[in-house]
């Protein structure tokens, strides 16, 4: 994946470039808003990581300008401002996701992947499949190997989100934000408990587990029986 990183903190940028390159992406770095905008116009990137506060040109105005010019590449906003308000402003300006500093690299890559997948997959069908697991969005029905699985409404939303991001790492905060719409952070790991309940329903009675825990990052719904690589 070709990624544009617009970040003025060179040390943080170097670390990000290294981390993303190691996970197989090609990253280009711009140190200020003007340069970032020029590069985004000149080249086609699969996704962009743009810092909120940049010298010469503010990150939000870069995004607005790109969106105005019809550039719809997914954008992840990085910001030191941790506030629901700030988040909303960022998303309104045309960003696709918002990540507050300090962040974990695993969180960033997971979100980035979710963004590009969303951008590429386009309209999804009303029935989702992962291996022998199917989820019917219209009938609100989940089956595995033809067997009916009863899920609570929230468990259904959780599974739906995981299935929409099949093969990707999904972090706990992504789940909290997208499934529960909570922009706060419970200390006890409520998500782990929810996942383990879901797992007991979809995986317990079957040979090959689908829902995997990715150490230090989150979870992944995938058909392959071998557990996902650890970060």
């Amino acid at each position: 994946m070709r990624i544009l990183l617009v970040e003025d903190d060179t040390e943080a940028a170097a670390y990000l470039v290294k981390g993303l390159t190691e996970s197989g992406h090609s990253v280009e770095h711009a140190a200020d808003g003007e340069e970032g905008l020029e590069m985004a116009i000149a080249n086609a990137y699969d996704s962009m990581i743009i810092d909120r506060m940049l010298p010469k040109r503010d990150g939000l105005s870069v995004i607005e300008e790109l969106r105005r010019m019809g550039n719809m590449a997914p954008v992840l906003i990085l910001s030191a401002l941790d506030d629901v308000d700030e988040r909303v402003t960022g998303l309104k300006a045309g960003g696709d996701d918002y990540l507050t500093k300090p962040y974990q690299l695993s969180e960033l890559t997971a979100r980035l992947q979710a963004l590009t997948r969303r951008a590429h997959s386009g309209v999804q069908g009303t029935v989702l499949h992962v291996g022998d697991l199917t989820l019917d969005l219209i009938k609100h029905k989940v089956t595995r190997s033809g067997r009916n699985i009863n899920l609570q409404p929230r468990e259904f939303r959780l599974l739906e989100y995981l299935m929409q991001h099949t093969g990707q790492v999904v972090t706990r905060s992504m789940l909290l934000e997208n499934v529960w719409d909570y922009h706060f952070d419970p200390q006890t790991n409520v998500i782990d408990v929810q996942i383990s309940r879901l797992r007991s329903k979809i995986d317990k009675d079957f040979d090959s587990p689908l829902l995997h825990t990715v150490r230090g990052a989150g979870y992944k719904l995938q058909e392959v029986s071998s557990p996902a690589e650890t970060n």
Binding site: V84, D85, W180, Q187, Q194
Partner: protein, 519 residues
């Protein structure tokens, strides 16, 4: 003279500088004035008010006294005029009856006898011959049409014909034209009345002057005493500004407006001092609570690097280091959130939230956690679904913190309960457990930042959870109460934390902050 003397001394100084001229200026005034800066005194609002008051009051009293003076004078004049008229009428009647000689005789007689020296009569004939030629019978008719009754003050004897007694006295004169050239002039001496009026006038002027003078002195006095109180306030304020926050303004027994202001300022200073102390406390706590994990982190990495180790060990040490860093970040985020909430930053994210629904969702999450992690029974008692204008994320965070605590501090097989009751106007949300509770004496303290009670030192947490709850509660103008959950069980009383919300308080606060924003 004093000035002269001082001027001399300043001339005698070998090196005249700027200083002496200032000295001279201040030494020109008597003691009580010298202590104050005169220009400041005249600028005080007290002096200005006194001056305005003095002017107004003097003008008013001058007007009142003036009115009394003028009406007295009118009264005296009209009395004198009445007597003049009476006398004139009598003499004219004599004349009208056709007896000019009788009239003259009557005047003669009257001038000879002593009429208290008050009346002077004079039938002034400019040309006696002419008058004598006139037929007597024609006179009454003519007199009627010609008769003019004028009065005028005659302040000088010179205006009177010679031969009049009592010269050099003010006289009021009535003149009546009897016929062509024949004029009846009756004078009335008014020296006593005039003396009375003069005296009254002097009184008016004197009283007005005295009022003005005393008002000015009063104004100066009030001005200086106000300045003295203000000076004391500003002296104390300077001392406080220079760093001594323990100073307080002096409050007298008079209980006047200065005392009121001083009391208010003292209360403000108390609050500021409390805030400063708590900030100091927080800074110390931050230093302590962040320094220990940072030291731990550093030591762990340092010790690991002392010798060559297996890659597995490096990996596990780094995992632990990441965990330490995460908990530090978590603490930082919590501190920032609390600081932001305490600053009362109004969020546009406030929406009408159904509290019962929110509590239901959280209950769903925590029921699972309670069962699987703490082997606890989780009850929900959501009796209503009030609608409240709030920041849903913050209320969620607050309830989450309370639920986290309840699950963390309740032993296995315990019971945790989340309940909602009340309507949209006033409702309460409470989280209760049957753990060991919090002793009454500690209940204030647990809301302070980084405070952790003895028995929880070893459990995970940063001591910020309840501080955040408190901050959220304050932001929503709600009230928090903490009580024993099971009063019948002194060993394990449990804890019940209730948040009381009212719509009115929240709306009032919103309006206030809006006003503050527009102001």
């Amino acid at each position: 003279m004093l000035q002269q003397k001082l001027a001399d001394t300043s001339v005698q100084r070998p090196v005249p500088t700027e200083q002496p001229s200032k000295d001279r200026q201040s030494r020109q005034y008597p003691g009580w004035l010298r202590r104050l800066d005169r220009r400041r005194l005249f600028r005080t609002s007290a002096f200005r008010l006194a001056l305005i008051y003095a002017t107004l009051f003097s003008a008013l009293s001058a007007a009142t006294l003036g009115f009394i003076y003028w009406s007295t004078r009118d009264q005296i004049e009209s009395q004198v005029d009445a007597r003049l008229r009476l006398e004139t009428d009598y003499l004219i009647n004599l004349y009208k009856s056709g007896a000019l000689p009788e009239l003259l005789e009557a005047i003669q007689r009257r001038n000879q006898i002593d009429t208290y020296g008050r009346f002077y009569y004079l039938a002034n004939n400019e040309s006696d011959d002419k008058a004598a030629d006139k037929p007597a019978d024609a006179l009454p008719l003519k007199l009627k049409s010609v008769r003019t009754h004028t009065t005028r003050n005659m302040g000088d004897v010179a205006d009177l014909p010679p031969g009049s007694p009592r010269a050099f006295n003010p006289v009021r004169v009535a003149e009546t034209q009897l016929s062509d050239g024949l004029k009846l002039t009756i004078g009335h001496e008014i020296s006593d009345e005039q003396a009375l009026l003069d005296h009254t006038f002097a009184l008016v002027v004197g009283a007005t002057g005295m009022t003005l003078l005393f008002s000015l002195i009063g104004g100066l006095w009030i001005g200086t005493s106000v300045l003295r109180r203000i000076d004391s306030v500003s002296r104390t304020a300077s001392e406080i500004m220079s760093g001594d926050l323990s100073q307080r303004l002096r409050v007298t027994d008079r209980d006047d407006e200065f005392d009121e202001i001083s009391t208010k300022l003292n209360q403000m200073l108390n609050r500021i001092e409390d805030l400063m102390k708590s900030m100091q406390q927080v800074t110390n706590n931050v230093a302590h609570d962040l320094r220990s994990p940072l030291t731990r982190l550093r030591n762990r990495l340092e010790v690991t690097l002392l010798e060559e180790r297996d890659p597995e060990i490096y990996r596990s040490v780094m995992d632990e280091a990441i965990g330490d860093a995460d908990s530090l970040i978590h603490t930082f985020n919590a501190m920032l959130s609390i600081a932001r909430l305490e600053a009362g930053i109004d969020s546009s994210q406030w929406t009408e939230t159904r509290i019962g629904d929110l509590a239901g969702e959280l209950a769903e999450l925590y029921e699972a956690v309670a069962e699987e992690q703490g082997e606890l029974t989780f009850y929900t008692d959501i009796q209503s679904n009030p609608v409240f204008h709030c920041n849903r994320h913050l209320i969620g965070q607050a309830l989450t913190n309370l639920l986290d605590n309840a699950i963390k501090y309740t032993p296995h097989n315990g019971v945790v309960c989340l309940s909602v009751s009340g309507n949209s106007d006033a409702f309460s949300v409470s989280v209760s457990d049957n753990g060991q509770g919090i002793p009454e004496a500690e209940r204030e303290r647990v809301f302070e930042r980084f405070v952790r009670l003895e028995n929880e030192r070893n459990s995970p947490g940063n001591g910020l959870g309840l501080s955040l709850v408190q901050a959220v509660v304050r932001l929503h103008s709600a009230r928090l109460t903490m009580e024993d959950n099971d009063t019948g069980n002194p060993d394990n009383p449990g804890l019940k934390v209730t948040l009381h919300f009212t719509r009115k308080a929240a709306v009032d606060k919103r309006n206030r902050s809006r006003k503050a924003l527009t102001a």
